[in-house]
Symmetry: C4
Subunit: 256 residues, 4 copies
């Protein structure tokens, strides 16, 4: 799915990368602010509760990613943003406590060079699907990224009896393996991880993953046969969610 | 359904038309502002997400209509409002990017001289009905316009495997044909288009289309036989939604 | 149910009545302001859409009641409050347009001397029950007033094919007859009317009628046998909703 | 479940206790303010309606607890907080009216020395489970405290035909017996009581009890077999809800 963004996405990414290569610190500022904004948007739209997180890969160094230190997404500030290597060891902010589950991010970035941003959520509409064998499928074009399939991660297979958290690189790796080349993976008894070729797209996919789950549940209750986007439609219906981003920024402004 | 508004509606329309005939620009101002307001109301009430749109036919020139340039409805300003001909070519704002799916509007205005306003939404309660064969029916008088029937548009029949969007006049025409003389058409895997003899009524119908879908789904889950407005009741129960409009304007004020 | 309020309610009512007898106008002011507040609360809590209404009987003259002139509840002001006789003819504000359906109020006050306040709503959780034969029953003590039964009014029996509105005294009378001695009557394809011995209680009952409907629908979907308050529990569990009123006033304050 | 908080929780509790031992009044201030905040958070997040309550045991005197006087949670101030003994007799604020159902708190504190905070709610998603025989089970780690089982209290067994309220020590004792060593007890036709080793945790459990109920109901409607956290996972997945607390404080700030 991620490879469907095409040349335009690649050019934007390269432009961003080139822009930050010469001198890091000052150029990164808007980049970090965008990640802070993503945290606030996801909290404000009800996608993240107090315990979710969102990261973005360093555009200039694919072996590093940015993620807030442990804390509620609604309250994240630029000072909380920490740089990690792909083993999820902090490169900056080393004294701060990191998210226990940061390995979700590090291991996915390792396994998936195309992924530039990751969300981990407990999105509430999605959990019923994570806890049943009913496959999540694309209800409309805004959820087209689901068309390639949405695997479910069973932590018992990877870690036996756990506290459900992705506390280690090994569990993160197992999750990344279940995700494979898809755009989202549900986590039984937990939530989901969503990936994308950009921060805006991962925010959009997280929002519409949750909404799509609700729509599908409602459609299934109507009693008739439910139509989903077919494989070809799913591939063709690619959304960049830029207008959603504008809209969610506006919502955030109104909330404050 | 639209022909049920009767002489009063016609007089209001003619009065509006006469008012703008002598000198265009200054008189259009409140007209444009009302369209901006409709964008904001539909976003604020959750009928439009970042990608829906609302248009209104030029009361003085039935071969033109007004629609924002591409952008999130919550953020539309008067400067974004663009005048289009019925082939959906911009008459003003020619350099701005238009909505990809503006053909929904142009082709419906061509096919339906009685239609003065059009909404295209991804209204979330409606999509379960668009993706099943369960017909949407009027649950109460506020949804009486559904009594004439709500057809479902299958884009595969008109365009084969697509990205689900109404990107061409041909697809817009096919959608208008499925709409026929009704007040709303559901779009499989996508959303809906709603039409009305005025801007306020199309906003009201869009809101209550979505609400009616939720009510019907809930009623169907109770397990008994569901009663709907019958054909005669649907014809008689005509609403102008003026008080809803006042109420939604108030909601918008509170949100800001 | 209404007769269960007991001596305390009667004393409060008499005290209010005595208070206003000597000189009408200035003493009525807080009374009218409370009715305006009830309009705003019911709109803010989502019980009334743009087309519902709430009235209160004149405590000093049981043959008169107070109701806003036609308009959205969220926008009602003290100047809109009109005094009506029980034939629903305006005693004040005679030049203003009244609610088409004011006969709901007048005819219920005629038939039910114990009723001091009436709400007419299109409360959305309730309509699924109005359109099926599944009886609404009390899910918890906050909905205890439903224990005496909730009749459903079929306007076709009273008026044949209509526009669904209670436009005449005759239809209002038929509705009052279906209500009989109960606290609420559902209206097929329309909404509900709720009555109570005070303004605060009618607001509370309207809110919890709607919530109870949602709870019952959810319980019925769980697949087991649903327990409701039995007749004796319903009679004993009498709520005055005073703390709810305080809470909803606070919500209103926060919304502004 | 409560015993799973472990040494860290005990240390925090002891620290709090030691802190208040030397001189009561000034040191209690932040403690009381936290209880006021808990009231406001639970109201703002929709866990408590106008009639719920939350208490906390005196850390310096296990035979006393703090609870607001009768009033809506959203409006509670520090002056409303009353100190009670375990027979639920007021030690301070003796002239104020107490919650009719304060015995819920007193009797649970008597029976459960490990419990430091109690919530009584009418949480709306939970009531469908309280009124059926479908057991509530942990859908995800945020609801892990449900894994030990969630008993349902039938007031008819303890008190025959009542007004559903826990008006006496005897009824409170019966409720505490049904709760036994669990973290929550549902109350048929009424709501629930939730307990925890701290104020923040009882707020978190109340919120996620309600959310878990909704998730489970949705999962059950999908038609497949639903997986829940197993006993071992439930024991291991212990949450302190500190980040939720931060997030809910932020929500409260935005609402004001």
């Amino acid at each position: 799915m991620h490879s469907k963004i095409g040349p335009a996405g690649v050019i934007i990414f390269l432009a961003a990368a080139l822009q930050v290569l010469p001198q890091a610190a000052p150029v990164y500022k808007p980049f970090i602010e965008e990640l802070v904004l993503a945290n606030h948007i996801l909290a404000n739209e009800g996608v993240l509760d107090g315990y979710g997180h969102v990261s973005v890969r360093d555009p200039a160094n694919p072996n590093h990613y940015f993620l807030a230190k442990a804390g509620a997404p609604a309250l994240v500030t630029a000072a909380d943003i920490t740089e990690y290597d792909l083993d999820s060891k902090p490169v900056t902010n080393a004294s701060a406590t990191g998210y226990t589950e940061r390995f979700i991010h590090g291991e996915i970035y390792k396994a998936r060079p195309d992924v530039m941003a990751v969300v981990h959520c407990h999105c509430s509409e999605v959990i019923p699907f994570a806890n049943t064998t009913v496959p999540l499928q694309p209800m409309h074009h805004m959820g087209s990224f689901l068309g390639a399939g949405v695997p479910v991660f069973e932590i018992r297979n990877a870690g036996g009896e756990t506290d459900m958290l992705i506390r280690t690189s090994a569990l993160g790796r197992a999750l990344a393996q279940t995700l494979a080349d898809k755009s989202a993976v549900l986590m039984r008894g937990h939530g989901a991880a969503i990936v994308a070729p950009s921060l805006h797209i991962v925010v959009g996919r997280s929002y519409y993953l949750n909404l799509n789950a609700r729509l599908q549940m409602q459609a299934m209750q109507l009693g008739g046969k439910v139509s989903y986007l077919d494989a070809e439609e799913s591939k063709k219906a690619v959304i960049d969610y830029e207008r959603s981003w504008d809209s969610w920024k506006h919502d955030l402004l109104l909330a404050h």
